[in-house]
């Protein structure tokens, strides 16, 4: 199948009506040269304030404003050979690439969010041309305005709760059979007994942590405009051995940020069964979509 063959070369097959690249496309779907696409970072209101200059995005190109329908799309040129649809599918499997790209995406959004409210776009939203972006802005204008109104003067805060590690040695690494249990009667039975106790203690700790986390979440939700729960991160990913029992994002009015932070602190003191982690303020990633449209119901 020569047409759809190796993807390593600077060629691909595609039909498209327009492209920002230097080469023109062949409508017949035969070989065409790679050009440039536009990576979308965020959409902002066409407000006041100068666009932050010189913020470098995912492909190394500076982010720039693209205006239509009274909105500003924050975009930058990216090379289709790296950020086109085919390449993206490949590159997203590469963790190093994903990390670089995610951080660059975030850096631009954050820089712009310092100037005006922005609706962050999900990673890897790519257009073939400025015209395509403008069309999108016009078609989705009402949605964006609604989202902008929702997040204006509000920020996202992340709170995670981990099961607090009980004091003293524990965990599966302890090997009771090797220690002082040597002379004890029925070593095997004693070992099993201790093992059971350990497991029970861990289950209790977890149960308690879950209950605490529910209280924490409920209280923080009261201080927030909106809340969203992400699935708990796997211990390996979170970089901690303790189990995560809450991974939530809260949309908080900026004027209440101090209050929110103080509440997290106070809740942490009041609930020793969990260890809390606070991150923020973030651009409102988790609240870019209207309530109920979030994809993970958990």
């Amino acid at each position: 199948m020569p047409r759809t063959g190796p993807v390593t070369g600077p060629w691909r097959t595609k039909t498209a009506s327009s492209a920002a690249g230097s080469q023109s496309l062949n409508r017949a779907g035969t070989l065409v040269a790679y050009g440039h696409c536009l990576w979308l970072y965020a959409v902002a209101g066409d407000a006041d304030g100068p666009f932050p200059a010189g913020v470098t995005g995912v492909g190394g190109a500076a982010a720039r404003p693209l205006r239509a329908a009274g909105l500003v799309a924050v975009v930058a040129e990216v090379d289709e050979s790296e950020f086109g649809a085919d390449a993206l599918h490949r590159n997203l499997e590469d963790l190093g690439w994903l990390e670089r790209t995610a951080r660059a995406h975030h850096a631009v959004i954050e820089a712009v969010a310092g100037t005006y409210p922005v609706v962050p776009a999900r990673l890897a939203t790519v257009y073939s041309s400025a015209a395509a972006v403008e069309t999108m802005l016009r078609e989705r204008a009402a949605d964006f305005r609604e989202a902008l109104a929702r997040i204006a003067e509000r920020s996202e805060w992340g709170v995670k709760a981990f099961v607090a590690t009980p004091a003293g040695p524990d965990g599966p690494s302890g090997s009771p059979a090797e220690g002082s249990g040597r002379g004890a009667p029925g070593t095997g039975a004693a070992y099993l007994q201790r093992r059971r106790e350990q497991l029970t203690a861990r289950q209790d700790a977890r149960r308690e942590a879950v209950v605490s986390a529910q209280t924490v979440d409920a209280e923080l939700a009261r201080l927030s405009v909106s809340a969203r729960r992400y699935p708990p991160q796997a211990p390996d990913l979170a970089g901690r051995s303790a189990a995560m029992v809450l991974n939530a994002a809260y949309l908080v009015a900026d004027e209440r940020a101090d209050e929110f932070v103080a509440a997290v602190n106070e809740l942490a003191a009041r609930h020793p069964a969990v260890r809390l982690t606070l991150t923020g303020p973030w651009p409102a990633y988790s609240f870019a979509a209207p309530d109920g449209e979030a994809e993970d119901p958990r």
């Binding site: 498209a16 959409v43 289709e80 086109g84 649809a85 993206l88 599918h89 997203l92 499997e93 963790l95 990390e99 995610a102 951080r103 995406h105 975030h106 850096a107 310092g114 962050p120 776009a121 999900r122 990673l123 890897a124 939203t125 790519v126 073939s128 395509a132 999108m136 949605d143 964006f144 989202a147 992340g158 090997s175 991160q233 796997a234 390996d236 990913l237 979170a238 970089g239 994002a249 900026d254 940020a257 101090d258 932070v261 997290v264 602190n265 942490a268 003191a269 809390l276 982690t277 606070l278 991150t279 923020g280 303020p281 973030w282 990633y285 988790s286 609240f287 870019a288 979509a289 994809e295």
Partner: protein, 87 residues
Amino acid sequence: MSAGRDGGFTSQPDLPDAAGIGYGPAIRGERIALVDLLDRVLAGGVVIAGDVTLAIANVDLVTVNLRALITSVSNLAKPPTGAERNR
């Protein structure tokens, strides 16, 4: 990276870790944990169909890398302490 990242937002009280709360790096302009960032850029953000990435932006991304992540990040994110011995 510039240091001016708390523009517009409230200043952050410097709370001691001893209070039982750990501040994530996002609060202090340090390096944000990749996993927290991925939660947001892969599952958050508004989903808009790009004409180049119609499907990608939608669903694929959320699951795309779980496989790769779980194997790779676990190596990257290992806590630095390696002492794990039984006396």
